[in-house]
Amino acid sequence: MSVEGALSRGILHRAAAIIGVGHTNWVGDAERTKRGEKPHTGIGYAALAFLDALADAGLSQNDIDGLIVGPTVPYERMGEILGINPSWSGQADSGGAILQACMAIATGMAETIALVYGNDQRSAKVEYGGQNAASATNYLAYAYHAPWGMTSQGAIYALMARRYEALGGLTEAGLAQVSVALRASAMLNPNALLRNPLTVEEYMAQPYVCEPLRRPDYCLINDGGVALIITSAERARRVGNKAVHVHGIGRSDLNTDASSLQGRLTDFYYEGQRKAAAASFDMAGVGPSDIDVIQIYDSFSLHVPLALEGYGYCRRGDIARYLTEQGIGLSSSRPVNTSGGHLAESYMQGWNHQVEAIRQIRGACGARQVEGCRFVHYSADVAGKCVSIVYGPGD
């Protein structure tokens, strides 16, 4: 591409590439925590994942000059343990971390950045509802309606699901197809926690947690860590062919009416998704039809239909037909969350989705590999904070 062509896409277009991915043994640690053991703290999981990613990249600690830590680990202690005194640093969720890292690399603040995440949420008995609900200090909506018994992100998604289903013609059995498809993919993933089959009938037989959502609509809660090594595109080319480039990236936040939940219930994040999608696809120079695999942040099953409509894969209001006819499983033309995602692989708050995206493009996914996978789209819309990333091959 010409210099002018590249500039018209923005300076983040293919500025950075991921050259290393790593994670902890989710399955083994889940078995240990189930027995009441405490294998590691969040920092420990992050450190182990970092070593794994570093080895994958073929680098040493001394090659790292930037560090971003996830929201669940303290920055200073993390850097101290990893032995990294970086020229640039930050703390962010998975999508935000990729975006910030691309910006730091494009502006020359750092060349090779480690992104590390660790969470001991299962062994630490972190609660997502009730009096001590996690994240309530950051999101007023998670705590403000407690005097009426309203609590937990699951209940918020249940409120959204009820209205979304009523407006869009999706039934509970229709939504079940999301959990069922992701479980089927997870069965081909040795790193996935849930590898027993799930049918629509079995889903429908499950009791409600917060009606209309059932347990299979909720993500797992488990311990673990993930790390990514991201570097300049130039250096990535020297490293070799395992590099996966960030072709496009965009963000759009919906804060209006977030605390009352009115924003979610009237627009279902659509405006934010539409803007983030446009920014990332324009930057990448590809569109939804070029995408081979979609990775959707799925703390709840409902995220999948919302994202398919919001990011332009499915006409609004057509989701019931899309899920039935097109489908999202490995045999569909554009599979979603090929690892099983948060519902069936591991709840690493978007970080494991990056790992799966990279591995699909590398062709390293074994039995669940999508043949000829070139472009993977990652999207997140947690609480209306929409992040969209288009990953693709190098030269």
Partner: protein, 139 residues
Amino acid sequence: MGQSRAIRTIYDDPMWETLASGVLRLQQCCNCRSFRYPPGPTCHRCASPEHKWKPVSGRGQILSWVVFHRTYFDDYPAPYNVVAVKLEEGPMIVTNLTGKKPMGSWIGRSVELCFERHSNHGLVPRVKLAGDDHRNVED
């Protein structure tokens, strides 16, 4: 487990103080006239800090509803419902439907505010179906 807790900053206090007398008042911007909820220091539409506390009509429509089948608070044993109600004035509140329950979908049903006493929070605003002669639970 534990009890549900209200978040009461200095911006919320005036609302809770009048709830105790069975009136829901929300802030109305003096500049652009829009109502806001939860209460806050400035108007999210026009940024004006000038506001007055105005009682709302109490009329609204249900946007969505759920039924909790799991208990998270001692003072809210499952099953119980939570409804999202769009008030005539614009803001949406999250509350509970008391009294008669509609057959079929609750979405779009007209409701009106009523007040019920809660063990920790005093009088809290809830809603009942418009025209339901359900008696407010008052001590």
